[in-house]
Amino acid sequence: MEPIDQELEEGELELPSQPMSLNMGPSHPAMHGTIRVVMELSGETILKADVQIGYLHRGFEKMCERGSWSQVFPYVDRCNYASPMLNNVGFALAVEKLLGVTVPERCQYYRVVLGELARIADHLTCNGAMAMELGAFTPLLWFIKGREMIYDIMEEETGARLTHSFGRVGGMAQPPSSNFKAMVGAVLPPILSILGEAETLLLQNRIFIDRLQGVGKISAADAIALGWTGPCLRSTGVAYDVRKAHPYLVYDRLSFDVPVGQEGDNWDRFMVRLEEIRQSVRIIQQALEQMPDSGPINVDDPRIVLPPKDEVYSTIEGTIQHFKIVMEGIKVPAGEAYGYTEGGNGELGFYLVSDGSGTPYRVRIRPPCFAITQALGGLITGVMIPDVVPTFGSLNMIGGECDH
């Protein structure tokens, strides 16, 4: 029998050599967060990538312009839903900057402890999800076990596991519960041991290492020009942490290290987050030691803080004070301020413009992962399709924050 291709001229039965376009997302099982990546492929290599966001846009900035300053807290909760407490604290600090008030010392420590707990939960979620997307499901369960312990504390303190809305302008909604210190102190050792166990599952795993090391590299200069902050910037070797560079609350009294990476690849981002969990534990331990056991939580200013409930029900002053704050909102003097804190993903900024009424004129949320996600297209150009998943995972894009 004759071979079948004998009559064919050379080169006629070639496979298509034109690039193929592939759509990934916005709803993709291996990508947490709603993001669409349109890729142009040559074989499995990505030639061009277009990252499209906005699928979780809920118009927070518009909604903020309708209520009072206190009514913004539920919205910022839903921005970075992996660490809502950090957002609460960040927004409260920004408004307090505009008002020119400082919360009492006890409240500052309370905010630090709750914020660092939220940061641990954020990093545990990110690293766990990253491992899961690469097929390692057990570490995710381990990390989530640690996160559940933190959520239990949050539930005990705030009444809600995820969306606390616990921050207030000029303080917090409630003082710390009576066994707050004991509760937090008891949860730190188990979290560290969980972290150690999960590390033994991952850090010596050849497959895991190979898929992270050297993938998604970025130089420090590029990262700075792109506006990267937080763990992603530190993975490139730039030791910029808002808590160190521009200390707020009581961070200048607490000693902690800023872990940095060298290569700026996925592995470094993963390792920086792991180390930051340990540093957060250090911060919490010191803050618990220094935190006063008694004292006021809220600032002593009837124009800002709601009166205690028994006063509202029994005195005319309390009733009026309560009514004015609830119905008219806190009167923030006209002006503008930019408050910035270290959120779970980097510098979380709030640019606030007030016209002197009880309603914000403009609340601009500067989400850290907006700047980080815009680099995704560049990071995945030239790599293979499977590398998209760990690269995207290590950036820790949070849809609610990125899309406002």
Binding site: E7, H57, G335, Y351, F370
Partner: protein
């Protein structure tokens, strides 16, 4: 430290700086829109300023003012640890003619922030490499963060997009689906 920064700007650009102020610990310089790009490049390159990072860029709408929009940029120097808020004012009362030079050539990170400001406020950034909507969809009419855009307004559902109407930068002839591929069998007749 930062008051020095405002002094440097005033000495360098003089009448291009409309006003400067420092309140709540933030330093602000309001500049003419025409010198926006020039000042941005100076702030990045001058060793006394050294603003390597553009932290944030957004718009604020003041319908009663003329020019109507304020474009606000927050800059940060990691080495010198100082910050600056740079503002400029563009657009007439109707919101038209709001044009500003893009600073993507200075900080590549400005790309998405300018797209967002264009999307939300309708400020057009001249020289932007890829100015299209980012948070809203292409068929959306208007700019939602303008004060005159009703917060409860609903827009019609978008009809199903045909496959070939790919969003830029991929036009209909770029890329290829398997269905369109024609294999030649080699037997012409």
């Amino acid at each position: 430290m930062s008051q020095k920064l405002l002094d440097i700007l005033k000495a360098q650009f003089g009448s291009d700086i409309l006003e400067t102020k420092s309140e709540h610990g933030d330093d602000t310089a309001v500049v003419l829109p025409g010198s926006w790009l020039k000042i941005a490049r100076f702030l990045r390159d001058d060793s006394r300023c050294d603003m390597q990072m553009m932290v944030d860029l957004c718009g604020v709408d003041y319908p009663s003012r003329e020019p109507r929009f304020e474009v606000v940029m927050h800059l940060h120097s990691i080495n010198l640890r100082h910050r600056l808020r740079l503002k400029t004012r563009v657009g007439d009362a109707e919101g038209d003619g709001a044009e500003l030079d893009s600073v993507v050539s200075v900080w590549s990170g400005a790309n998405w922030f300018e797209r967002e400001t264009f999307d939300m406020m309708g400020v057009v950034f001249v020289g932007h490499p890829d100015l299209r909507r980012i948070l809203m969809y292409p068929e959306f009419v208007g700019h939602p963060l303008r004060k005159d855009y009703p917060a409860d307004k609903a827009q019609p559902l978008v009809p199903f997009r045909e496959g070939y109407e790919k969003l830029p930068p991929f036009d209909r002839f770029e890329g290829m689906s398997f269905g369109r591929q024609v294999f030649r069998s080699g037997k012409a007749d």
